[in-house]
């Protein structure tokens, strides 16, 4: 649906040149929710603006729905833009127009007749649940309502693609969930391909099918959300994951845990493998090892369980070693050692910097 082929975007020239997007090759499939995550300045907003040519590439190609848009002139680009909806962090509603007039604006641009406009606006406001606000001005709406209007406006001309640039970043957590649910509905009921730009891993976890992680203009990692969460290869990815899943103890938290629990601790990843979960308690029983859960968290990603449990194990060394070997056959196990002989300066563990949370099994953050 959208293909980036070795796309580079440079702003400015000479010594002041900034490479916002650096040799990105990426394919976004029809009908999916694709998320691009990165810190501010990573180039994700520029990347998404290349899709509707609000920015033009320095080199490379952007192909949208089979059409190489990098080869088009301004008037043809206007046609392409009209077929791609966009929602913004700051909503970007026209304050001088009513809600209905804002939603009607793209229809006017697309030369819809007055009767069809009226009908479509009513339909859209119904869809986003703001039918009663048609005559209100944006200043009379809450943030969540404004973004609903923004989404209605972006969907007005029945685009096949919706670009969401930090669409929830200016909203409170509850409203964020509402807007994400609406985007999910747009994807499922209307079949719209959605590209979500965000710096919040929670957003990715909530709605995305696939994710690309950007850093310094490059896509450093991409794939299905579950796979990226389960096996993050890059440090930046690990840091993002740690912001949403605080399931592994941070170095500080680990030190506090060691103070309270002098025995040997292990962190067992809880994932879905071939449809089966990891039965930790059965393994403990089998090897005659006592265990108490001291840290952890399990949540759901892509409707599959995901997280980890940190357990203080108590038993003779051979039995514990056998237990670890056994568990490792079905999942990742990290041996943290004991207070006297600490292990676990493994980068993966230290990368998971999060608030300390004692026993927190069973709930997401």
């Amino acid at each position: 649906m959208i293909s980036f082929r070795d796309v580079t975007k440079v702003f400015g020239s000479g010594t002041g040149a900034v490479c916002a997007v650096d040799s990105v090759t990426l394919d976004i499939q029809r009908g999916e929710i694709f998320s691009v995550i990165g810190y501010s300045g990573a180039g994700k907003s520029t990347l998404v603006r290349l899709v509707n040519a609000l920015e033009t590439v320095t080199s490379g190609q952007v192909v949208v729905d089979g059409q190489d848009i990098t080869a088009l002139g301004e008037s043809e680009l206007r046609q392409v833009r009209a077929g791609i909806g966009m929602v913004f962090q700051q909503f970007n509603l026209m304050k001088s127009r009513t809600v209905a007039s804002n939603v009607a604006y793209p229809l006017k641009v697309a030369r819809w007749s007055k009767e069809r406009r009226k009908e479509r606006v009513a339909e859209l406001l119904e869809f986003v649940g703001l039918a009663d606000k048609a005559r209100a001005y944006p200043s009379q709406l809450s943030g969540g309502q404004k973004q609903r209007v923004g989404i209605a406006r972006a969907l007005a001309t029945q685009p096949a693609i919706l670009l969401a640039d930090e669409a929830t970043s200016a909203l409170d957590p509850d409203t964020t969930q509402d807007v994400l649910a609406l985007l999910k509905r747009v994807n499922q009921e209307l079949g719209v391909t959605i590209v979500v730009i965000t710096h919040e891993m929670d957003v990715v976890r909530s709605i995305a099918d696939r994710v690309a992680v950007m850093e310094a203009g490059r896509v450093i990692e991409h794939g299905p959300v579950y796979d990226v969460f389960a096996a993050p290869r890059e440090r930046a990815t690990q840091r993002f994951i740690s912001t949403t899943l605080r399931d592994r103890p941070s170095p500080d938290a680990l030190e506090r845990l060691r103070h309270r629990h002098p025995g040997r601790m292990i962190t067992v990843a809880v994932r879905e493998n071939d449809g089966r979960g990891v039965d930790v308690t059965a393994a403990l029983r089998e090897h005659g090892v006592a265990g108490s859960i001291v840290f952890g968290g399990i949540t759901e990603i892509d409707e599959r369980p995901f997280g980890s449990l940190t357990i203080e194990v108590d038993g003779d060394q051979a039995a514990v070693d056998a237990l670890i070997a056994d568990l490792r056959r079905s999942t990742d196990v990290q041996d943290l050692g004991t207070r006297e002989q600490p292990l676990g300066d493994d980068p993966l563990a230290s990368a998971h910097v999060g608030a300390a949370r004692d026993v927190g099994a069973g709930g997401g953050p």
Binding site: R78, I84, L93, M94, K95, V109, S139
Partner: protein
């Protein structure tokens, strides 16, 4: 004194009419041309819709050259142009011509400054919807900046009233001329005082109207 006012009142009323005529015509012509110039000034600026460094530099310099010229000098400096365009350098119409040119450049700056404050995100949203640049200027940029523009034009209107006071120097009429000829030159402070009062009333009414319209345009 009473005898004075029985003859002065008709002249005062005629002066008010002349001032309103000069001011409204200048506001119309200079205000419109200034809007066009101001939009161009804004839009050709780096990073904006019609980015064009050359056009921007020329317009910017032109505005900077014309604006600081004191109007009493400007009115004579454009004399040849006035003569070529309307056939005379004296009288109300000659004054209106000079005022319109000055008002155009003053308005251009006022309009530009108010447009700069519009949210670039809204412009970007309109671009993302496939709107042409011309359409964006007319249907997004100006409507979004309407409230401050109205206040800017109110400010302009008062500037024009100020300029019109100098009409007498080139054979024009209006309240300024009335105050000079019947007040200052005849040592009749009462006339000057009354004229000032009338001007204050006109300015106040204009400001109130401007504020009211701007509030209507704000939608808050």
């Amino acid at each position: 004194m009473n005898r004075d006012w029985s003859t002065l009142t008709p002249i005062l009323l005629e002066s008010i009419r002349e001032t309103l005529y000069m001011v409204s015509l200048t506001l119309l012509v200079g205000g419109f041309l200034g809007l066009v110039l101001g939009v161009l000034l804004y839009a050709t600026r780096k990073g904006n819709l019609l980015e064009n460094a050359f056009v921007f530099a020329i317009l910017n310099v032109a505005v900077n050259i014309v604006r600081p010229i004191p109007f009493i000098i400007f009115i004579t400096a454009v004399g040849p142009l006035t003569l070529a365009t309307i056939g005379t350098t004296i009288g109300n119409d000659a004054v209106i011509f000079a005022m319109s040119i000055m008002a155009t450049f003053v308005t251009a700056r006022i309009v530009e400054q108010n447009l700069v404050a519009t949210d670039p995100g809204v412009i970007e949203a309109a671009r993302a919807m496939g709107a042409s640049r011309f359409r964006i200027i007319l249907t997004v940029l100006i409507p979004e900046a309407l409230a401050p523009l109205i206040l800017g034009y109110t400010f302009l209107l008062i500037g024009i009233i100020d300029m019109s006071a100098l009409a007498g120097y080139v054979g024009g009429g209006g309240l300024g001329d009335f105050a000079i000829v019947y007040g200052y030159q005849r040592f009749n402070w009462q006339v000057t005082f009354v004229t000032v009062l009338v001007i204050i009333v006109i300015v106040q009414l204009a400001q109130m109207l401007g504020n009211w319209l701007a509030r209507k345009a704000l939608h808050r």
